[in-house]
Symmetry: none
Subunit: 153 residues, 2 copies
C-alpha cells in the first residue's frame, strides 16, 4: 500500500511526463492542499525522491507567486563517469539505490544488473559496521561503475 509520499511522487512524475518541457512548476501549498498534508511533506518528498541522485534538480522561490520547479536532468555523455564522482568517498544506502535507479532508467544497465548492484549495496553490506560501511559501499559502487565503463567499450 502506497504511502502519501509515494502518491505525491507519482503525481509529480505524471506531471513531468505530460509536460512538453523538461520541468514542471508547482505550488507547494497547492500540493499540500490537494493531498491534505503539511506543506513540509512536499519538501520531504522532493528532497528524498527528486535530488540529483535520482536525476532531478529542484529550484524554488518564496513570496507571492512563489513556486517549486522540478527539473528532469537530461542524459549526457560521460554519464557514468560523472556518477563515479558523485559516489565520492562515502555514500549512503538510499543514495546508492538512487544512482542505480538512474542507471537503470537510462538503460545503461539491465534490470538484472540493477538488482545485483542493489543487492551489493544492501544485503551485501548488512553485516558491516556503520563507520566504515558507507566508505566500503562507495568503494564497491566505484568498482562496479568502473567495470561498467570497461564493459561499455
Amino acid at each position: 500500500m502506497p504511502t502519501l509520499a509515494e502518491y505525491i511522487a507519482q503525481y509529480i512524475y505524471r506531471l513531468l511526463e505530460q509536460s512538453e518541457r523538461d520541468y514542471v512548476d508547482v505550488r507547494r501549498s497547492d500540493l499540500a492542499l490537494k493531498f491534505n498534508c503539511a506543506p513540509s511533506q512536499v519538501t520531504y518528498v522532493l528532497s528524498t525522491r527528486f535530488g540529483p541522485h535520482s536525476g532531478f534538480v529542484v529550484e524554488s522561490r518564496r513570496g507571492g507567486g512563489g513556486y517549486v520547479r522540478i527539473i528532469k536532468l537530461p542524459v549526457e555523455d560521460e554519464f557514468v563517469r560523472r556518477l563515479y564522482h558523485v559516489v565520492g568517498d562515502a555514500i549512503g544506502h538510499r543514495e546508492a539505490l538512487q544512482i542505480i535507479g538512474r542507471l537503470s532508467e537510462e538503460s545503461l544497465i539491465t534490470g538484472r544488473e540493477a538488482g545485483m548492484m542493489a543487492a551489493i549495496v544492501g544485503d551485501g553490506l548488512s553485516k558491516v559496521e556503520l563507520p566504515g560501511r558507507n566508505t566500503l559501499r562507495a568503494q564497491l559502487m566505484r568498482a562496479m561503475l568502473a567495470a561498467l565503463l570497461r564493459g561499455m567499450e
Copy 2:
C-alpha cells in the same frame, strides 16, 4: 504437533499459492497479531524458511507503509542455488572467480555481469583487511547470487 513457526510458514505458502503473482506482501505486525506472537517471530520464520536456499527471496521496507515481500523463485534455478551453498560463510578470491567463471560458462550471466562481479570480489574489497575479507566476500557473493535468482524470472 506443528510449531507456531510451521503454522506461519504454511500460511505464507498458502498466500503464495493463492496469489496471481510470484510474490505476496504482508505486514510483519499483522502476521504477529494474527498468530499472537512477537513480530520477531515472523522474521525468524522468514529467515529460516524463506531464504534463497529454499527458493525464496524476501524484501522489505521499514517505516510508514512498510511491508515484507516474499518472492517465490522459479524452480529451474537449481544450479545457482547450489552455487549459493558452495559459497558458504567465507570464500577466497580465487574460488569466487571460479564460481563467476562457471556462471559465465553456463551463460547464466553476461560478460559484463561477470566483469562487475569480478570487480566486486577483487578491487571492491582491496581495502578490507584479511580476517573479515573472506566472509564479507561470501556475503557479497550470496547477495549477488540471490539477486540473480530474483532477476531470472
